[in-house]
Symmetry: C2
Subunit: 179 residues, 2 copies
């Protein structure tokens, strides 16, 4: 996995299939922020961690996207049983929280976690750089994932908090701007 | 723009329209990597800078996405006149390059820039953490942007190079992992 740009010019470039493991390693070269997409359903918090989130997909209306694997057990519950979804951008000091909510132990995901859910069920974590209240705007199948477009209905920011970035298979913290 | 999470619980939350300027400021709280999407068309390099790129939207097939404003003059040329597109992830030390290619002076965007274009026209920059050779897989309208899904056909990585992140309206460099 150390192909130079010159490889691109090879006539056979693109002919061989890309191995998923190699792909994953390559994709980790692209720095990505991390979010928790969550809702309270029948009084129980449900949420998933996504590293495929993008803001600014549209400003009018305000749209954001994330992708989720077809194998996700949580996404069908969120999609089908929640009218609104909270999106919480994980902050620089929240990597432990991120690991907890990403865990396979669904019952323990929100144990001890500070969050607020509104009357519509949208659930956001506390102490994050940015949270959004959203609802599903569009969803379509993209290979082995669903690509979900969310419309932003409300939001809150805390500019003193910086984001966490997943990069080269490691969590990296970004400094907040000087006040 | 310093709403606390408690704002979410207000009954009127979500009722007021979100101002595009405030939205942009809020979205800047989410750290995003930056790419150049480019092709050589009739011997001339054409490209645009996108801060709405996401990898890992699917692994089988390998899909990535980016969003581009309807007002872009460059995207219609790339979409209509290029069969394949190169995607170059901007590295930690390439913020100047990023600004140059984002400039309104189209003729000068690639002046002095080191790049390689293959026989299919896919154009990638040199010295980047990651480049991808892609073709358009799907495109759909998402508000005031087009959301473009690209299929990855080939790629190259340089793990010694770290990515550049746009965060809180500033370029921030990530450290590369220790070798």
């Amino acid at each position: 996995m150390s192909l130079s740009a010159a490889t691109l010019a090879r006539p056979d470039a693109g002919a061989r299939p890309l191995d998923p493991l190699a792909l994953r390693a390559a994709f980790s070269q692209f720095p990505q922020g991390i979010v928790v997409v969550a809702a309270e359903i029948d009084g129980t918090p449900e949420g998933l961690v996504a590293s495929t989130f993008t803001v600014g997909v549209s400003l009018e209306p305000p749209l954001v996207t994330f992708a989720v694997q077809h194998t996700s057990n949580t996404w069908p519950r969120l999609r089908d049983d929640a009218s609104h979804l909270g999106v919480s951008v994980i902050g620089a000091d929240q990597d432990g929280l991120c690991r907890q909510i990403a865990s396979k132990d669904r019952a323990g995901r929100f144990s001890g976690v500070e969050y607020t859910a509104d009357d519509d069920g949208a659930l956001v974590l506390h102490h994050t750089p940015l949270w959004l209240k959203t609802r599903v705007y569009h969803q379509f199948t993209a290979g082995d994932h669903d690509l979900v477009v969310l419309e932003v209905l409300n939001l809150g920011v805390d500019q003193q908090r910086a984001g966490l970035v997943f990069h080269q298979s490691a969590f990296k913290s970004l400094p907040a701007n000087e006040a």
